[in-house]
Every structure is written in C-alpha cells, then in structure tokens.
C-alpha cells in the first residue's frame, strides 16, 4: 500500500476528509499522518522560520519536519488547506518548497472548498501513486515495437501510432462518444502508419475516457494524463534529461507539471473557473465568428493593452468582450486580450503553486494558438517551447509508456 503523508488544515471541519481518503483508497493508497509530539511543534515552527497563528498550520509544519528528517516514512506528500485562507495558502506553498528541498518525495498541493469530491482528486492521487510505483517505466526514453496511444480528452480525442520511436500515424477529432471517437481516430492513424490493428503490440490510454477505452481495447497501460502527458511532452520537445515545466492549458482543466529527467515531481491541476481555460478561447472565437484555429494569428497582430478583458469568469469575460467590441476595438486587439487574460489567470491561479523551471514546454491543443503562446511568454518572461505535434502529448506518452510492457 502506498503511503501518502497528508499535511493539511481544515479538512475534517470542511467535511472533505472522507473524500480525500476515498480518492486515495481508489488508487491503492492510504493517507497517513506523520507522528508528532506536542512538545516538538514549537521547535519545528522555529526551524521552519514561518510562524503562522493557526495551531493546525503549526502542526502541518511539524509533520513536514518529521518527513524532512526521515523520522516518518512516506511515499508521497499531499498538502491541502482551505481555499481563500491566506495564511493557509502561504504555509501550503512554502511547505511544498520545504519538502522538495529536503526530500525526493513527489508532492501535490490542493486548496479545497467544502464541495470537494473524491473524483476531483482522483487524477492527482493516481499520478502520485504512478510516480511512486512506476518510476522505472516513467524514466523510459524510447518507444519500441508497434504501439498505440489513445488520449480521450474533454475537448478532443487523439490517437498516435508509433513504430520504433517514430510517430508513424496520428489523428484527432472533437470528442463525442468515447469509444466511437477513439475508433475513428485510431482507424485513421493506423491507415497513415500503414499497419493493421493486429500488428499493434500494446495500447496505452489516458484522459477522461481512459478506463472505458482501456477496457474496450484491453490496453496494457491505463494511466492518468499528468504522468503520461509529461512523458509525451519531454519526448516531443527532446528534453528528456534535466528539468522542465510542462504547461497544458486544456479545454476543461489546466495542468502545470515540473519534471526532472522526464519524471514529474510536482504538479498542479484544475482551474477555479473556465475563464482560465481553452474553453474560454472557444467562446471568444464563437463570439468573433471565427474558428478557434484562427484566433492565434489574429491575436498575434493585436495588442492586449488596447482592450480590457480581465475577468476571472468566462461569462463576465465575454461581457467584457462585448463591451470592448462595442467601444470599437479591433478583433485583433480583442483576440490578443483574450489570450493575455487566459495566460495571466493561469499564472495567477496555477503557476504560483509550483516553482517554474526552465525550459517551459507548452503543449496540448491550445499550444497551437500562437497568440496564447506569445501571451504565456510575456507573462512568464520566457518564450515557451512548443514542440511539433504538441497536441498529441497524451497519445504519444501513452504509446511510449505502453511499449515498456513489451519487454521482460
């Protein structure tokens, strides 16, 4: 059983502890609490250097010190505090740094509300467990044989056929029925690769529909998108060694993952609202009566400073857009402002929860929107790398990792 050390404040009184335990159990892990004696707390807080007022935050710090001093054995760390608690947010982020500086344990941080459900944590917990149990597989740098990766995402479904470390066929389609969408893209990818289904030696599935697809295709690998996408991203960007940050602004949620030699060691996933997701850019394109694929080049020609669009909410964001267009601003400036707004929110809401390491590899379907990549570069002060086939990270990762099951 994988032991995930929980450092948290407020979970019991927020009625979410049960959901956290449930999410951990469902991926074969258990939440544990580093033992701390009451007399150790003050010394631990003194050593840590940040002295919060809340006793439970002090207890969190003391538990982190136990992990750092190897006095308590755990495989991974889950750090959580209440959403909207400033003191909690500061401690959460600094403890994450402290754990990373003093241990090699994978860490995930989370700020919860009382509405947290186990399903929201499932991918994060699964990724923590994967990093612990499949370290060797995740360290894999080459694909071998004939394998397929299927990525059933919230917006699009992708298939990639890889043969001996080369992408031989690929296809994508907007997601509809999970199985039918996958069948369509797989058929086209196989055709492009010039191989038949019977030639395929292993299949790896990821994304929201991974379990259904895994069962349908008897996949050798059924794995969450955080670790699979990381593998695909570093392979596509040819950055398998060293450190990097992977940024995937998705249709429904965003992922920011830091990796060391291709293996994730910290990640943040989600978004408080759609205003910081690819879905918002789709809504903007619809209102501008253009295809989302055209939005990027339009934004490249505009200047976000000329149009006001800084709402956190997609609905109010569109309201800003309507007002701005009413004021006679150009489509170019509005498109640039929309991209800048998403980039800024990703920075404000998500990238604060990890230590951004360079290079930044921007992936996923939205990485094809050049205006968004430019905006991310402006916000972060460093232009992200967008590898070729960046929208296929999940499928590529699935194909690479599933080939690990062919040997031995």
């Amino acid at each position: 059983m994988i032991k995930i050390a929980q450092l948290s404040c407020g979970t019991e009184y927020s009625s979410v502890q049960y959901e956290i335990d449930k999410a951990a159990r469902s991926v074969g892990a258990s939440m544990t609490y580093p033992d701390v004696s009451a007399s150790d707390i003050d010394a631990a807080v003194e050593r840590f250097g940040f002295k919060p007022q809340s006793p439970q935050l002090k207890l969190m710090i003391a538990r982190a010190v136990q992990l750092a001093d190897r006095k308590y054995d755990a495989d991974a760390v889950f750090i959580a505090t209440c959403f909207r608690c400033a003191e909690g947010a500061l401690v959460r982020n600094e403890l994450r740094r402290f754990i990373q500086d003093n241990t090699k344990l994978p860490v995930v941080t989370y700020s919860f509300t009382e509405r947290l459900k186990a399903a929201q944590l499932l991918t994060r917990m699964e990724a923590l467990v994967t990093v612990v149990t499949r370290k060797e597989l995740l360290a894999r740098e080459r694909q071998t044989g004939v394998t397929v990766g299927l990525d059933s995402g919230s917006s699009t479904t992708k298939a990639v056929v890889m043969i001996d470390n080369v992408i031989a066929g690929k296809d994508w389609t907007p997601s509809g029925d999970v199985i039918r969408s996958a069948e369509t893209v797989l058929e086209n990818a196989l055709k492009e690769a010039g191989v038949l289904m019977k030639d395929v030696e292993a299949i790896g599935t990821t994304g929201y529909g991974r379990y259904r697809l895994g069962k349908h295709y008897n996949a050798k690998l059924v794995q969450e998108e955080l670790t699979v996408n990381s593998k695909g991203a570093v392979w596509l960007a040819n950055k398998q060694r060293g450190e990097a940050t992977i940024l995937d602004i998705g249709g429904m949620d965003n992922k920011a993952i830091t990796v060391r030699d291709g293996v994730p060691d910290n990640f943040t996933m989600g978004g408080i609202c759609a205003g910081a997701s690819g879905r918002f850019l789709e809504m903007v394109s619809k209102r501008l009566k253009i295809e989302v694929t055209e939005l990027g080049s339009l934004a490249d020609k505009g200047d976000w400073r000329n149009a006001k669009m800084n709402s956190y909410c997609s609905v109010f964001g569109i309201q800003d857009l309507v007002t701005t267009l009413g004021d006679g601003k150009t489509f170019e400036d509005v498109a640039a402002a929309a991209c800048h707004s998403v980039a800024e929110q990703v920075y404000e809401q998500q990238l604060q929860e990890i230590d951004v390491r360079h290079p930044i590899i921007q992936v996923g379907g939205t990485s094809l929107i050049s205006g968004l990549v430019k905006a991310v570069g402006e916000v972060l002060g460093s232009k992200p790398i967008v590898p070729e086939n960046s929208q296929y990270i999940g499928a590529v990762g699935g194909a690479i990792l599933s080939s690990g099951f062919l040997e031995g």
Binding site: Y13, S15, S54
Partner: protein, 144 residues
Amino acid sequence: MKIFIDPPNSLILFDLVERSGHEPLSTMAAIQEKIDRTEIDMPPMNLSLEDVMLGLKYAGIEVPSGVRGRLAVWGPMIEAAEAAVIMEDCPYSFGCVGCHRANLMVRYMIKRKNIPVLNVNYPNNEDEATDLVVEIREFLEGLK
C-alpha cells in the same frame, strides 16, 4: 447553567464545569452527537456538507470552509451558552489544535452575547494551577 468552554475540547475545563454542577458545552458532545448519526458515514467526525453550510449563519461564503465548519459546530453552543470560561495561552496538549481565524470569531461571538465570562491564563506552576482551579470554581459557584 450551560457553560461554553474555550478551548472547546478541553477535558480539564469540561471536568471542572461538570463537577460544579453545570452543563459544559464542548466539542466532544457536539461531535459525539454527529458520530452517532448512523445515516451519515463520513469519518472521522461525520461532518457533512450540510453541516458546513450551517456555518454560513455565522460567516459568509468568502470565509474558508474550515472556519465555517468549525463555527457550525461551536456557533449553536455559543448561542445556547449562559456563561463561558476562556483559557488564554494554553499549550497544544491542553485543547484544540485549530484555526486561529475560527478561534478569533468564537471569542468575538462570546463577547457579543454579553454573558458572564471568566478569562484565565494557563498556569505556569503548581501554585498558579491551584489558584486557577479556585478561581474557576468561584466563578462557577457564583453563577448559581
């Protein structure tokens, strides 16, 4: 009389109040009541989303859920309280390991209720501890 104790899970304060013939209002009793609800299975404390929502009576939605969840437990006790005993500067082993914001709000709610309140400091030695017990007893006797 119903006496609210702070920290609300202090066994020592609970015992002193009970020995004086009053009814201590404590976290233990409130949580026991929740744990006994067999229709809900949400360990460790059986606090449900509905319980946390009750906290909205005491603090708005912009207040963290952990604060509202705590106030949902302690708020009704403070409403019912006829007096309170508050221990200042106590160590972790004495009572609640909790949220400072929630603790601040509890103190404020007690003050606003305008009931007899005894504020005592945590004793540093045996003599102070003896004086403390006498002081609390006298306060509780005086309420009768």
